[in-house]
Symmetry: C2
């Protein structure tokens, strides 16, 4: 097994090669990778069976995410081939201008270099991340969860073989086979080789990465998202939007976790939404005002207000006005997606302007916070930070700029 240091070194070197490939070459190779995945599906499925045999302790949904069969592999290959059809994030035209002394400055879009991805037991991320980083001219270091290690090794081997077949350095795509915590820790500190690390996983894991890494990190995905129903809301519409945002896919980061109801409508609206959510199997927790209005709802603890459940649970609070809603949201937000349900333009404007989140919604389900839904064609993650990229990240998030200056002997006076 190669050391993480060695993998980093190789990635840095390989990043120069992949950064110089033409769009036509990158696309041809992506399509060849899609074909190779399907052609090698029996090897991949056999490796996945090993992972599944070791995965007795996993819950049903986690086992589902881990499972690869002919159909899921076909889906992964299809997504991979679709990346070839996306616009080139490195393409010009680039801004350029002349300095008064006559030299030309070109502001070029270039790959970041070496991207490291740390993620959990979802083997499809191995292929997605490899495809998106490759398309954008980067080398990638993949460090997936140990539950998927055999699947990941098999997938990476197929992708690397395609690189070899095209006379390219296979270290453009590398998988860390060491699934110990130490290998992650080493990655977090390898500033000389890694240009950006993108963690995907639980809020707790991402916090660990952000507070420990010395390499540049893009925070993704923690979503303690709120819906505020103000006094002017269309209540029938609100019932549908809240139901959708909470129940349509509760395990993901853009589903709703908290509901704030304006005091003027609480007595009327709470029983209706509680009926609907309880019927959908949602466990409700509430502040004292909520519990006083509906005896089916149990009292929330202080920890509830900062917890991302990723489950059929929702905490509800009565709020006195839009200003309090904004202040509450800004105190508890993970800066992902926040929603106001309202027909009052002044309330909407305040909420939009003052809530500090990547995406702020009026009268729309927050389940739409997603690269595909936003029209970016692909998504490497959802940034909850403000620097570099915010919200759903498409291919441009994997690029940076470089100033190229061409002159004929200009000196500064």
């Amino acid at each position: 097994m190669q050391t993480v240091e060695k993998i980093g070194q190789q990635a840095k070197q390989a990043s120069q090669i992949v950064s110089q490939l033409s769009l036509a070459d990158r696309n041809e190779i992506l399509k060849a990778m899609a074909t190779a995945l399907t052609a090698n599906q029996s090897t991949i499925i056999a490796a996945n069976q090993e992972d599944l045999a070791n995965a007795q302790d996993l819950t049903g949904p986690m086992k589902n995410r881990l499972t690869l069969d002919a159909q899921t592999i076909a889906g992964i290959a299809e997504s991979l081939a679709a990346v070839a059809d996306l616009a080139d994030p490195l393409a010009g035209p680039y801004e350029n201008w002349d300095h008064p002394t006559g030299f030309k400055i070109i502001k070029k879009t270039v790959p970041l270099g070496v991207v490291a991805m740390v993620y959990e037991a979802r083997p499809n991320v191995t292929v997605d991340a490899a495809a998106l980083t490759f398309k954008s001219g980067n080398a990638v270091i993949l460090r997936g969860g140990k539950e998927a290690i055999h699947s990941n090794i098999a997938l990476a081997m197929v992708l690397r073989q395609v690189l070899v077949d095209h006379n390219l350095d296979p270290d453009i795509i590398q998988l860390i086979e060491d699934t110990s915590h130490e290998s992650v820790n080493e990655l977090l500190h390898m500033r000389q080789y890694i240009d950006v690390l993108i963690p995907r996983g639980s809020g707790k894991f991402i916090d660990f990465v952000v507070t420990n890494a010395t390499v540049p990190v893009i925070e993704t995905g923690a979503g303690n998202t709120h819906i505020f129903v103000d006094e002017s809301a269309d209540q029938d519409q609100a019932l549908e939007v809240i139901h959708n945002a909470k129940t349509q896919k509760p395990a993901v980061c853009n589903s709703a976790e908290k509901l704030l109801i304006h005091q003027a409508i609480a007595a009327e609206f709470l029983p209706k939404i509680a009926d609907k959510l309880i019927a959908a199997g949602v466990e409700l927790r509430g502040d004292e005002a909520v519990c006083a209005l509906d005896s089916r709802i149990k009292l929330a603890t202080a920890a509830d207000w900062d917890t991302e459940y990723n489950d059929l649970i929702m905490a509800i609070k009565v709020i006195s006005d839009t200003a309090e809603a904004i202040s509450w949201v800004n105190t508890h937000t993970t800066h992902h997606s926040e929603t106001i349900l309202s027909q009052n333009p002044a309330n909407v404007a305040s909420f939009m302007n003052l809530v500090d989140a990547a995406v702020v919604y009026q009268n729309v389900s927050s389940r739409f916070t997603d690269g595909f839904e936003f029209g970016f064609g692909a998504e490497i993650g959802i940034s909850t930070q403000k620097l570099h990229a915010r919200g759903p990240m498409g291919l441009p998030a994997l690029t940076t700029i470089k100033y190229e200056v061409f002159g004929d002997g200009q000196i500064r006076q």
Copy 2:
């Protein structure tokens, strides 16, 4: 003295206010600040005298940077007023598009929120940073060096009074008066209040910040910059460019520190450039090949190749070809500014494409890496990282984006 925590809290609150000011209001206040600086110059100069009296140990250039008199204050006020004339970094038009289900997505440009600046004994940075963060709608926390503390307090008091006079929260601009290391340490970890921290200072200090901070950081300024003279270079032009890049202002980050000479021209070119640099008072150090060619040059140590001198010192090395030059530069670069002096298009293309730096020059002095020279009107620093901002940073580097979504009840299927 207020705690750093309290200052952070206040800044977060004030950031909402400044983020909502119109361009006209921001510009009017900037101009009022410029007027107030001049009107209060005697108070400022008196405070500065205290700092100077305590600054017996400072070197001449550092004392110069610290000194405020009527003329320097007029210059600072003029720069401040000029910020009012810069384009609004928050202005639209914003990209916007409709989702197939009918809701609208607007990609808005918004301030970062709370910007923290940590810097050394240059009181002008106090005003520059306050002006640029204010113009871009941010609250700022300033933490200047202890040598300038009295000057900084006086300057901040003038700026804050202008905010009060305009019925605004003065905590939009705050100065940390505690000049202990602990106050910096606290800043580095105040994730709940600080959106970005920009350190300005020595490479060692910036490294400390980057490796210890848990708040988002933009790395600035360390510049171990190289010039590679290839076999095709116009040697007369090269002499002028190297001389300018090394000697015109040796203490700054965009001045040249290392010279790489192609072996085919080393015997011819080295004596000429050594004559010119030695005449300008530059101490030369070299690898063995260089020392063998010119006995005036002493042998460089391994540490030389990674040292930013910020002084009249230059280390010179003989290189076998462009590929070796690129590899050498990429190993020792601080990713700031790198230069090739060449008339050979193939060498220039390789160097431009493969050298990993914010700015890459052909036949131009690297002294031009500067926000004003690049036409950005102002500069909050020079980013040597790849995320968010790279190279000279103008006002847009102090902004982020936010997606505002407006619909009428859309839910995800």
